[in-house]
């Protein structure tokens, strides 16, 4: 059977005749190994070796090749373009997510729910937040500083650490869990951070209020 490279190519391009197709398929589905062309083995092994090494060398890394020097203008433009793209993307996301809220910058969230009755739900990039009535929350996403007055229910999309402004109280909130955070007066004693699964450890009167407020 004479199966050449050209014939195989034709077969794959679907341009061969019915006869050729039959030949190729017969060859492809035949499990006998008798047709293997062994003439190549008789060729000079060294020359083949040489050839392979030459091919490999073309893809091997060169011995410490100095990087081409870029001009300062190039670096400046590269940085500027990257920054512009990032700012545009971040700006677009923040615009769509927080269209109705005052936002100073992307790393800093300022949330406010002035309603005395209703809860406000916000789907931020890093977490889902429900703001209780009369609640303001400022979260700095870079240093994790949180300034809160009121009550929030928060479900982080990844593990996050928060530090309460003006205190050394630091908490880590785990991805996939829901937490209630309450803070009304100043000082660490008034801060309550509790997982929804521990809600029943709070006084029943508070627990009932929270369940009603956040529809838990």
């Amino acid at each position: 059977m004479n199966i050449s490279n050209e014939l195989l190519e034709k077969y794959h391009l679907n341009t061969c005749t019915a006869e050729e197709r039959r030949m190729v398929e017969e060859w492809l589905f035949n499990t006998d190994v008798g047709d293997l062309d062994t003439t190549i083995l008789t060729q000079d092994k060294n020359s083949i070796k040489q050839e392979i090494w030459q091919e490999i060398e073309t893809v091997l890394p060169q011995a410490v090749k100095p990087l081409p020097k870029r001009s300062n203008a190039y670096l400046m433009w590269k940085g500027a373009i990257a920054a512009a793209v990032l700012i545009t993307i971040a700006g677009t996301i923040v615009y769509f997510v927080f269209a109705s809220k005052p936002v100073a910058q992307a790393d800093y969230l300022a949330l406010n729910n002035p309603s005395a009755l209703h809860v406000k739900y916000i789907d931020a990039t890093g977490y889902d937040v429900a703001l209780g009535p009369n609640t303001t929350a400022k979260i700095n996403n870079i240093d994790g500083m949180i300034d809160l007055t009121g009550s929030i229910m928060i479900s982080p999309k990844k593990d996050i650490s928060l530090v309460f402004e003006g205190t050394d109280k630091k908490v880590t909130l785990l991805k996939g869990q829901t937490y209630i955070i309450l803070k009304n007066k100043t000082g660490v004693k008034s801060i309550i951070v509790i997982s929804e699964r521990n809600l029943m450890d709070l006084p029943p009167v508070m627990q009932k209020q929270l369940s009603t407020q956040f529809d838990i």
Binding site: L182, S190, I194, S195, R197, L202, P203, V205, K208, T212
Partner: protein, 405 residues
């Protein structure tokens, strides 16, 4: 069939045999197990474990526990004759569950609308009295009689408990006790101020209702303490002794009544009486405990265990549940003496953590340093020793229950 196929088939057959074989054995264990343990793991997942003994061994919830879907289950679940009973407030569904083949299976349900359970009482073998409040405001007292064999409501309606008035907006029912053809109901009133703050009246009330009509006969007030009892699906606060004398605890500490200037105390209603004994008051806060307490279990022979907080070890409600600061004391109800149990400090504000069997009290302790163990207290000798360990991912043993009496 060639040799390879035979080998493959045999391997699959052996695996299948092992798998089903093991599963069978596990379910048999769960069905006959004597105890259940409700675990909250470090990653926030909850599990039910079963065991035939609490005396020794180790269990890891993530390995042998039944995973509980947080949408359906919480630790305000109570156990009788191998079944678990729980009200899902959001779906209004009161369900009966059983453990089968490594899963919690619904064995029946009945819908109870606009209801939040404050207390449950078994009136008969399969008649359950649920007392509680309206979900829509927690200011209105309601009840439901359930036949738990058929999971049907026999009757339901309002209890003639005076609704909150004046500055008070809600109430808490802390205990319900059937005495002949009347029902004694202990409660108090609150003023809720948003989600972070509330006030409790400085008075506790016990109303006598006709049974089963639930009509008001009379109300007694007591100002020696406030917030009688608590929600008994989460923790126990009362019991009846061998004579039929009824004891209940008051909980004015920050974790329940939030009236910490009043003392935690134990009150008595004598057998045959329908009023609080005015001569009896066991002042826990004035005893050498010098703290508030929440949770009380009867050991027999006029002795009880109480679980008390350590105000010097927590800062406020924010760390009350997560800091290990709880101590256990044995009380003599007659002589009013207290004996501290030499156990590690325990964490978790509210837990159903004591089972009494003969001369042994099994006490579950969540220690930050020493791990989570069931401790065995010998009521006769006072000896304490470690029993079953809850290892692996266990963060809190939330409750321990006897599956069958």
């Amino acid at each position: 069939m060639n040799f390879n196929s035979i080998i493959k088939f045999s391997i699959i057959a052996i695996f299948a045999f092992c798998f089903f074989g093991c599963k069978e054995r596990k379910s048999a264990n769960q069905k006959d197990a004597k105890y259940s343990l409700y675990i909250l793991a470090k990653d926030g997942k909850e599990y039910l474990l079963t065991s035939n003994t609490l005396d020794s061994g180790e269990l890891k919830p993530e390995i042998s526990g039944v995973y509980l879907d947080p949408k359906d289950m919480d630790r305000d679940v109570f156990v009788k004759d191998g079944f678990f009973y729980h009200l899902n407030r959001k779906s209004n569904r009161f369900s009966k569950f059983k453990l089968e083949n490594g899963k919690l299976i619904t064995a029946g349900f009945v819908d109870i609308k606009d209801f939040s359970i404050e207390n449950f009482n078994w009136i008969g073998k399969d008649s359950l009295l649920l007392t509680g409040l309206n979900l829509s405001g927690y200011n209105h007292s309601k009840y439901g009689f359930i036949n738990t064999t058929k999971m049907e409501t026999i009757t339901q309606g309002d209890m003639e408990i005076p609704a909150p008035s004046g500055k008070y907006t809600t109430l808490s029912i802390g205990f319900v006790e059937k005495k002949g053809n009347t029902l004694l109901v202990g409660y108090t009133y609150h003023l809720a101020q948003g989600v972070s703050n509330y006030l409790t009246s400085d008075t506790l009330y016990v109303s006598e209702l006709s049974y089963p009509q639930m009509k008001l006969i009379g109300t007694q007030k007591d100002t020696r303490s406030t917030y009688p009892g608590g929600i008994n699906t989460i923790q126990s606060y009362n019991f009846k002794d061998e004579k039929g004398d009824y004891y209940f605890q008051s909980c004015p500490g920050i974790a329940l009544g939030n009236h910490p200037d009043l003392p935690t105390g134990i009150f008595k209603i004598e057998a045959g009486e329908k009023k609080i004994d005015p001569k009896y008051f066991f002042n826990i806060s004035a005893s050498k405990i010098q703290n508030h307490a929440y949770g009380m279990w009867y050991l027999g022979g006029n002795k009880a265990i109480i679980r008390s907080e350590r105000k010097d070890l927590f800062k406020g409600l924010g760390d009350h549940y997560s800091t290990a600061h709880f101590e256990f004391y044995v009380l003599d109800l007659l002589s009013q003496s207290v004996t501290k149990l030499n156990l590690p400090l325990d964490k978790g504000t509210r837990r159903e953590c004591v089972i009494v069997e003969g001369n042994t009290a099994y006490i579950s302790v969540n220690s930050t340093r020493e791990g989570n163990y069931i401790w065995l207290y010998n009521i006769k000798t006072g000896a304490l020793k470690k029993g079953l360990q809850l290892g692996g991912d266990t963060d809190f043993i939330m409750r321990i229950d006897r599956l069958k009496d």
